[in-house]
Point group: C2
Chain length 499, copies 2
């Protein structure tokens, strides 16, 4: 009989239930510091009883009852990844060290319960990412409906492990029941203003998984360059105006496939963005666009006699917003035919373009005020995604993660029905001032603040508590090879080994 | 007969003198872009005539007339370093490829003219860093009074080399006569608020040499930690309050020696800072400090009966500024006895502490206004160093390098004699928010803006021209392995290979 307690409001309370000493746990501040779960699970209970993990004996395995099997590579890969996160890059243990002690935790059993575990699937907006984790001797059990929840639980399990003074890995008796507050938790990276080498994109997908993000919004092309190598329209990237360089600064179809698969293995879906009707200057030399008779976009379409003729034919008069509506409608029809979803930036909604009911509106304008727009979008019945307070390319001196952390996508005046239309948000790192040299430390751990806001319960708002956990979480990312920058004065047990 | 022209004011003019076509050079914009000297030399003239450099044949050698010999390791090391910067990490050339073509530049002769070349010396504030460089077939000649000027000229020579469309290294016929505007051109790094692994410090010394900086101001200890392992007072770093960790977060005597030697090889002197009387909290557990009866420094000294007794003995009454003067005087006497120079932060001057005439005052307060303080310090006859506009730890969104670039240490109301007391400045990167994960891209190329201000002629102020050169210079740093961040949208031929 477990007693699951909502963690946040009881954090400093001394609660005793069914023999679990919450107070003891709070008393052991050192271990608490070192556990430092991020983002904080929805329901969490721990005891002072600790088990030891031996790299020679401990293993992560599929439970006998699990609907997955040995061919479920998404799990098998994750097991190896998390074993290495926990124990580092160790040599194969010697066989003689197989003796098990009473205080050992010998295995983590991963139990996928749904008949279809989705081993070969892709995560979606409807994906159930919930999981339950019970750590007790001699085995810990992680239970989830599908592999996606199992991935989230593996990350949490790895965060529960801490080193004692002898360098031995310990884990406390723990019960967790967890699920995300929002279904869409994204990071936008921009590979047009600066080309981002694959290595950087993959490292950031790893960091995203450490923070339970589940959407990589890939702003792959824009006015500045077209690094996407299209099979259908290869000239878009190969002509001089396309990519910065047609060989060294492009993503080939196999690169893109690799990014999608690397992301899938971490429960992340990739949303590629081909921004249109604006932001298409780099497409020009591929001859996809209509000829332009002026230099700017708006005057461009107005100066083209074919477009003027079309306006008359359609009865649009001189109302170019009708032309835009027509264009967007046609485009969304095409996208809908491929059975893919569609997101639009808020201008399309603001400009009064007629939209399909299931369109997702991405709110980004009006920093720092986003409340009115969120209220209007949801009042009109559309799904809303928030990014306004999370333009992480914008930097300032000091601990700016605090305001990032305080913003809440449901903090606007509206009905419960409106609040339910908020599907999440995205941290955006536009590329004007970032490339491979500085992207990763600029994004992390600032994006971690967004991660907790989108995953954890809305009551999790204590900045001091968040600071203490986030300091440890960023050191954990550093230990795992991610150059996440410091929040403030201090140190990590293992400092970053790179440059 | 060479005609040396001051570069900046004639940059866009078409000047013809002694057969040198300045205009041709300006016309060849592509090569100009790729040459991108940084910081700009004092006198510079180039022609459109280009020579090719073959990695199989080209060499950097000591001139026969040079006062240096094969044992001058500072030069021999620099030759290897700059050969690699120019050609990359190449295998040994095959012997058969020794044929020389007419259009080849086959060698750079380095000619040190002073009887004492200072091969085993250290740079100082009085060091002559001037050099003359003449690139012509079949040899280029670099002439300097000592090895320090030769190092500066080698950097300039390497910056003159550019790749043509075939990837072949070219260099144009060029004459340069160069010297620094200010003698003290420094970077301050702080290893107390965050420990900086040696690797990071060494990489930044390399970047400093690429920008002709000559002082590494090492703010090695402060309140937050004492990573300096003292032979005389080992407890300062070894006790728990000292270093963040007594083994993993310290600089051993041999580490410090290595930093000093690595810097010396690049013409950089190391100024270690042990800030006092404030900023000494981390010294406490080493028992060097007087017992404190209150928690803050000021109340500390006022509460200590021994100090109160001492005040009475010295006839200071209750004027603690007299105590401070006494302390500083004693300290500077001790430092003077070691024949080392001394710098103090401006507060010591502002507080009216009596100072020796040759004290250097480091101006850092009052952002963005520094003019009054510079005027006062120099009016009082002291040497002044500027850092106020160059606190590079302070960041903001956008191209903040422009204001960094525009600040000028002699931009204050004062006599010529006062202006001459300005010995230079320092770019400071305080450690609250930086460590190994983000230090290098946050410092470069923003510190490069300071480098040009302190080296080049005061007339070199054209921001557009600087932008074009700095974009190329930062790509050069990236190519050499320094993760210098981008100024704005664009790309480098070779993007950064790390994370």
């Amino acid at each position: 009989m477990y007693c699951l307690v909502k963690f946040a409001p009881l954090f400093l309370a001394v609660a005793v239930c069914n023999g679990w000493l919450f107070g003891d746990f709070v008393g052991k501040l050192k271990e608490l510091d070192e556990i430092s779960l991020w983002p904080l699970p929805q329901k969490f209970q721990s005891s002072a009883v600790a088990f030891k993990l031996s790299p020679a004996r401990f293993q992560i395995v599929q439970a006998k009852q699990s609907s997955t099997g040995p061919s479920c590579s998404i799990l098998e890969n994750a097991f190896r990844r998390y074993f290495e996160y926990i124990f580092g890059d160790l040599k194969k243990p010697e066989k003689s060290r197989k003796k098990v002690y009473d205080s050992d935790l010998v295995e983590l059993q991963v139990w996928v319960t749904s008949p279809d575990p989705e081993c070969d699937g892709f995560p979606s907006l409807q994906t159930d990412e919930s999981y339950e984790l019970s750590v007790d001797e001699p085995s810990a059990v992680l239970k989830a409906a599908n592999v996606w929840g199992a991935l989230r639980g593996l990350e949490t399990f790895s965060q529960l492990v801490y080193e004692d003074d002898y360098g031995v890995n310990n884990i406390n008796k723990t019960d967790i029941s967890d699920f995300p507050r929002f279904a869409h938790r994204g990071i936008l990276l921009d590979s047009s203003r600066h080309f981002l080498p694959l290595k950087v994109i993959l490292a950031n997908l790893e960091a995203m998984a450490m923070n339970k993000f589940n959407v990589f919004h890939w702003h792959i092309v824009d006015d500045h360059s077209f690094p996407y190598m299209s099979r259908t329209f290869p000239e878009l990237s190969q002509k001089r105006k396309g990519a910065y360089h047609p060989f060294t600064h492009v993503y080939t179809p196999s690169d893109v496939k690799m990014v999608i698969e690397f992301a899938r293995m971490r429960g992340i879906r990739v949303i590629p963005e081909f921004d249109t009707p604006g932001h298409t200057e780099s497409w020009g030399n591929g001859q996809l666009l209509r000829p332009c008779f002026h230099s700017t976009y708006r005057s461009c379409r107005e100066s083209n006699p074919d477009i003027q003729k079309f306006m008359v034919q359609q009865g649009f008069g001189t109302d170019y917003s009708k032309l835009e509506s027509f264009y967007i409608q046609r485009l969304l029809d095409i996208v809908a035919a491929t059975k893919k979803g569609y997101m639009v930036w808020q201008e399309v909604f603001d400009n009064g373009v007629k939209l399909k009911a299931d369109t997702q509106i991405h709110v980004w304008k009006g920093r720092p005020q986003y409340q009115d727009e969120m209220a209007q979008v949801t009042a009109a019945g559309f799904n809303a995604l928030l990014s306004t307070p999370w333009y992480l390319n914008r930097i300032s001196y000091g601990q700016d993660w605090v305001n990032i952390y305080k913003a809440d996508p449901q903090n606007f005046t509206g009905t419960d029905a409106q609040k339910k239309l908020v599907i999440g948000g995205e941290a955006c790192l536009w590329g004007e001032y970032v490339d491979a040299t500085n992207l990763t430390p600029r994004l992390w751990p600032r994006a971690s603040a967004v991660a907790e806001r989108l995953w954890s319960d809305k009551s999790v708002t204590d900045v001091d508590n968040a600071y203490n956990r986030l300091v440890q979480h960023r050191c954990r990312m550093v230990k795992r090879g991610i150059p996440a920058e410091p929040l403030f004065v201090g140190h990590c047990r293992q400092e970053y080994k790179g440059l």
